[in-house]
């Protein structure tokens, strides 16, 4: 393995700046790694080698020329990045892992992609996900499952399993994800990586294919907390194209991560959410969580218990609000303007029937299930009982958070109740699948930010620790997250990801 790919984004950036390595070398090393392992992992749906190398060469040339041009380069310029295939990109296909958008080429870039282009991060390609981001395992991709680099027979989490697996397997130092109910944080937890769901509105959603508009948020995926801080600062900020975008950019994220890594947590109040521990959480997960709390306490943090009594309704509210918005957001996929068009096999050839046949063939089962569920929750006679009630529960959850944040500066919980489960384990039980998101969903409902950091292993599989902060206070996540990361690594003497087993490419037949 080329040692370049083991570097964090920040470390690689420093070497690029120092001239010890070129961006072309770094990009090529990652492309080589993708060539080596991705036939097994299937983290990437599209590899963007040519453009990535061209951007890398451009950065190298600017740096070689020196002067103002080199000075003006973004700190991450030349560091490669992978993009979840829910985010639209010019020049590369965007599929949302759905047959519906097979071959679709966006004529425009998402706002985050514009920022990445402006900062000159070479884009390695587009990563796999559950179709339209609906799932917690990446098994619902129309283009095959992605495997967990820690255990090839297990799921990498979802929906952003591709981005998490790519970062965990050293195919990319950085990736973009999207998080509607935990799609950045839960894959981060089960792959031993870092993932952040920023405050709702902190990063523009323009160009992220909408799943549930009031819950969706783009965020960073990386191997270190500091890398995520750099990436969030790059992609964040107000966007006039997104009406729900916060008016001001959140600042001080990198500084917070740096101060947290110094390890001093004196005065920080950390609230343990009573409802997100204990029953339903695997023993090993609970054990790693408790050990992390001890470390945080030893570093000066004050640990308090907080109660969020309405969190038990969060999953129910989420599975009403999310599918309702899904049913409307996905209506546009009808075979008229773009994407797949399927003609009915028999009977009259009307546009209505073509739409019905197209959507029947273009969407997978989980997508259909959520569209039908959302259609039901919004339909006449049921709106008040379902959608209306769920919006009220949302208020109650916000109130729970507000009360908890009076007692604590950040809240903490396991990110997911279990370690990665085996592929196919929940095939016939959508409800069991939904339970994976029980700890991550409250943050989406309330709009508050959350981070997952690696918290150790259970059954040789990673466990994630989640911190939550009040809206706009993403910096607190980076401080607490970087502190726990540093404390754990000091205790272990190494990073968690360095313990990931070699990927046995021979064990799984490479896909054609």
């Amino acid at each position: 393995m080329n040692e370049l790919i083991k570097l964090s984004a920040t470390e690689l950036a420093a070497k690029l700046r120092a001239g010890e390595v070129t961006s072309v070398e770094a990009v090529q090393a990652h492309l080589d790694r993708i060539a080596e392992v991705d036939g097994t992992l299937n983290a990437f749906l599209h590899v963007n080698a040519k453009e990535a190398l061209a951007v890398a060469a451009e950065v190298d040339a600017i740096r070689a020329a020196g002067g103002a041009g080199a000075e003006a380069l973004h700190p991450l310029a030349g560091v490669p990045i992978a993009i979840k295939d829910l985010i639209v990109t010019k020049g590369q296909p965007t599929t949302a892992a759905s047959k519906m958008l097979e071959g679709w080429m966006s004529p425009y870039d998402a706002t985050v992609i514009e920022k990445i282009r402006a900062a000159k991060l070479p884009m390695l390609g587009k990563t796999n996900l559950d179709e339209f981001a609906m799932g917690s395992s990446t098994e619902h991709s129309a283009y095959g499952v992605t495997r967990n680099p820690w255990d090839l027979n297990r799921i990498p989490g979802g929906s952003g399993g591709g981005s998490a697996a790519a970062v965990a397997s050293f195919e990319a130092p950085l990736a973009l994800g999207t998080d509607t109910g935990g799609s950045i944080r839960q894959p981060g937890a089960v792959t031993g990586t870092v993932g952040v769901k920023p405050t709702y509105g902190a990063v523009s959603r323009y160009g992220a294919i909408a799943m549930a508009s009031s819950l969706d948020q783009i965020g960073p995926v990386s191997r270190t907390v500091l890398d995520s801080a750099y990436l969030q600062e790059l992609i964040g900020g107000h966007d006039p194209k997104d009406s729900t975008s916060l008016p001001n950019a959140l600042e001080g994220l990198v500084a917070a991560a740096e101060s947290g890594a110094a390890g001093d947590l004196e005065g920080l109040r950390i609230g343990v959410i009573k409802e997100l521990t204990g029953e339903g959480y695997q023993e090993g997960v609970q054990a790693r969580f408790n050990e992390s709390l001890e470390l945080l306490k030893a570093a000066g943090a004050e640990i308090v218990e907080v109660s969020c009594p309405n969190f038990k309704y969060a999953l129910g509210a989420y599975y009403l609000i999310m599918p309702s918005e899904v049913s409307s957001n996905l209506a546009k996929f009808d075979g008229v303007r773009y994407g797949k068009r399927v003609l009915p096999e028999d009977g009259p050839m009307t546009i209505e029937r073509v739409m019905g046949a197209t959507r029947a063939a273009g969407f997978g089962d989980e997508v259909k299930r959520r569209i039908i569920l959302g259609t039901y929750a919004l339909s006449a006679g049921y709106y008040d009982a379902y959608y209306g009630s769920a919006q009220k529960v949302r208020t109650l959850i916000q109130r729970d958070f507000a009360a908890a944040f009076e007692q604590a500066d950040v809240l903490v919980s396991p990110t997911a109740p279990t370690v990665a489960f085996e592929l196919g384990a929940n095939d016939n039980d959508p409800l069991a699948m939904y339970l994976n998101d029980v700890a991550t969903i409250p943050a989406n409902l309330a709009g508050v930010p959350g981070i997952t950091v690696p918290g150790g292993l259970s059954e040789n599989l990673p466990v994630g620790i989640q911190f939550l902060a009040p809206a706009y206070e993403d910096a607190r996540l980076y401080r607490a997250g970087a502190a726990l990361e540093a404390l754990l690594e000091k205790q272990w003497g190494h990073s968690l990801i360095s313990q990931a087993p070699a990927i046995d490419t021979a064990s799984i037949a490479q896909e054609a």
Binding site: P107, R337, I371, Y386, K392, A471
Partner: protein, 98 residues
């Protein structure tokens, strides 16, 4: 909350414009019923005096000045069209021909 019937699912699939086979309708009916049963608890706590939250972060008056921006070229517009005729999208008949 009453159970979801197969007829309900037929109607919902029609509203959602998704054709479904008999087998799919049966399967979906069972799954939906289970899911709805599991999540219906939200109505227990939703008292009438609790306001609804539709936006997680409360913002107001995000408005745009009335200034013309960049449009797509006709090539970009029709780039991904399943069918088109000259400069317009082409769709099958809207009404049944009978």
């Amino acid at each position: 909350m009453s159970a979801i019937s197969r007829e309900d699912v037929v109607h919902l699939a029609h509203l959602a414009h998704i054709e479904m086979s008999d087998a799919e309708l049966d399967k979906m009916t069972g799954e939906l019923d289970a899911i709805v049963g599991a999540i219906a608890s939200v109505s227990e706590v939703a008292a009438s005096d609790v306001p609804a939250t539709s936006h997680p972060i409360p913002l107001t008056n995000v408005l745009r000045e009335d200034t013309v921006g960049q449009t797509l070229s006709i090539e970009e517009v029709l780039l991904n069209a399943p069918d088109s005729d000259s400069d317009r999208f082409k769709v099958p008949a809207i009404l049944d021909g009978e």
